[in-house]
């Protein structure tokens, strides 16, 4: 099996990261924004793994494990907050979250 060349993986990760970043900025649905943040984290993970393979080093693999666990913890709190927003406002549209503009 031929390994995927490093630049290819890195480019894919960079594209995913940028997609996520743009998504956080332009999307208006709280859940989609949340998914975009997860996309960014996974892009970082992919970068770690690609470099770990290139360096022949396990640090990147270990990092990926920890990032997955942290992302799960973050997701559980984040989704709970989205539910709290939905319960108090009846919507998850970010355009309507404007009670505190001065």
């Amino acid at each position: 099996m031929l390994p995927v060349p490093l630049p290819h993986t890195l480019a894919l990760a960079a594209v995913l990261f940028c997609l996520g970043m743009v998504g956080v900025m332009v999307r208006r649905n709280a859940l989609v924004v949340f998914m975009c943040v997860e996309l960014m984290l996974n892009a970082a993970n992919l970068t770690f793994l690609a470099f770990a393979q290139a360096h022949g080093d396990t640090t990147g693999h270990v990092s990926a494990f920890f990032v997955i666990a942290v992302a799960a913890a973050e997701a559980s709190v984040g989704l709970a907050i989205v539910i709290a927003v939905f319960r108090s406002r009846g919507t998850v549209n970010l355009e309507e979250l404007k009670t505190m503009k001065h």
Partner: protein, 123 residues
């Protein structure tokens, strides 16, 4: 070349064979042994327990969310148990103590979740 290229794959072949036999045998056994009573609900097309027709954008009870998240959080922790299990012998008592401390922390979380009633389905 190694003396027997097939050797390392033998256990895999056995596993495949056994699981194939199981997969074939179980439906056949069920067909002969199981009682069959047709009903209206049973003849509907199966869709993971939800209603098979209507809008896909229905709202779910929040208890699904709680169970799903508890599952994710506790499930992800096995990510740290696998590397330990693979290196179990090499890590020895040091690794065992580390994992025990990790599991004890999780146990505190489980005790909290349990007593809090987050695992009760019917409330």
């Amino acid at each position: 070349m190694s003396p027997s290229p097939v050797g390392p794959y033998l256990p895999l072949a056995v596993t495949l064979l056994v699981s194939g036999l199981m997969a074939a045998a179980l439906p056949v056994l069920a067909h002969f042994l199981g009682p069959r009573r047709a009903s209206k609900v049973k003849s509907e097309s199966f869709e993971c327990g939800s209603v098979s027709e209507g809008s896909a954008r229905q709202r779910f009870a929040v208890k699904f969310y709680v169970v799903a998240l508890l599952f994710i959080v506790f499930d992800i922790e096995t990510v740290f148990l696998y590397p330990w299990a693979v290196n179990f012998k090499a890590l020895g008592w040091f690794g065992y103590a580390e994992v025990a401390a990790f599991a004890a922390t999780l146990l505190v979380g489980l005790a909290y979740v349990w007593k809090k009633g987050a695992l009760e389905w019917e409330t």
